[in-house]
Subunit: 156 residues, 2 copies
């Protein structure tokens, strides 16, 4: 029997056939497959992670939802993952600036966007010991880079 997780994965991907994003109710989906709601989280975590090129947004409470967004891996095939890999979990300011410049050169961000990003990773934006700064800068920059690709995807 095809694994439940596989079926759910397929189901979600089918729903995303046309359109870069969908919204689902976790409970509805779970009910549809007759499984525990947390099973949905499992599928999302294992098949729709950032590494897989997706971003998950959600909201709890009444009217809650889970939104699954496919990130565009635009121009050069795996630019996004290459960048994320380059950033890793620690990066110095100069390298960060270079990456942002790269995005600008490729016209993946506007000049204003690039400036905002630079401001976010500037050394004086991170009031911490130097080594910690690099770690933090990496996570802030990764978040922004992912967002840039998501923006690009949606704009298509």
């Amino acid at each position: 029997m095809a694994q439940l997780s596989d079926s759910i994965e397929r189901f979600i991907k089918d729903m995303m056939e046309d359109g870069a994003q969908i919204e689902v109710r976790r409970n509805e989906l779970a009910q549809h497959f007759g499984c525990a709601p947390s099973q949905i989280n499992y599928v999302l975590a294992t098949r729709f992670s950032v590494d897989h090129g997706y971003i998950i947004e959600s909201r709890r409470g009444g009217g809650g939802y889970i939104r699954i967004v496919r990130m565009g891996v635009n121009s050069p095939e795996n630019l996004l993952s290459a960048l994320l890999q380059r950033i890793g979990n620690s990066i110095d300011e100069d390298s960060a600036v270079a990456i942002i410049q790269n995005l600008l050169d490729r016209r993946l961000v506007t000049l204003n966007e690039a400036r905002i990003m630079r401001a976010a990773v500037a050394k004086n934006a991170l009031a911490l010991p130097v080594s910690a700064k690099d770690v933090l800068r990496a996570s802030v920059l990764s978040g922004m880079v992912r967002q840039v690709f998501q923006n690009a995807e949606e704009g298509k």
Copy 2:
């Protein structure tokens, strides 16, 4: 089902389309949406806070009302310093998001820029103990806000 709160928020913002302020009767509004009057207070508290760029004035008793005022800004300089002051050296994620939304509402940033900024201050962008996160978020956000104003200045 679109959330009641969301509908009410939309309704109010539509009413404010032209004009920086409106006045409503809490009970009327509640009746219009078929909900408890205090629901209106909830919407105001969560979507029309000062961080969102609104001021609420009201009066009880006969002829009572609730006035919703979109904060005007005499000059960008004032807004900038107001925002920086609000950010201070520590700010939680919700407030940061509200401030970014405020910038977007005022069209000081584009949707894509706003998204990038949100990504930079998201909790998962800051892998640190919670209290430290707020401090860091404040400095990152301040840096970006300053940059936004600088961009605007240059664009003129």
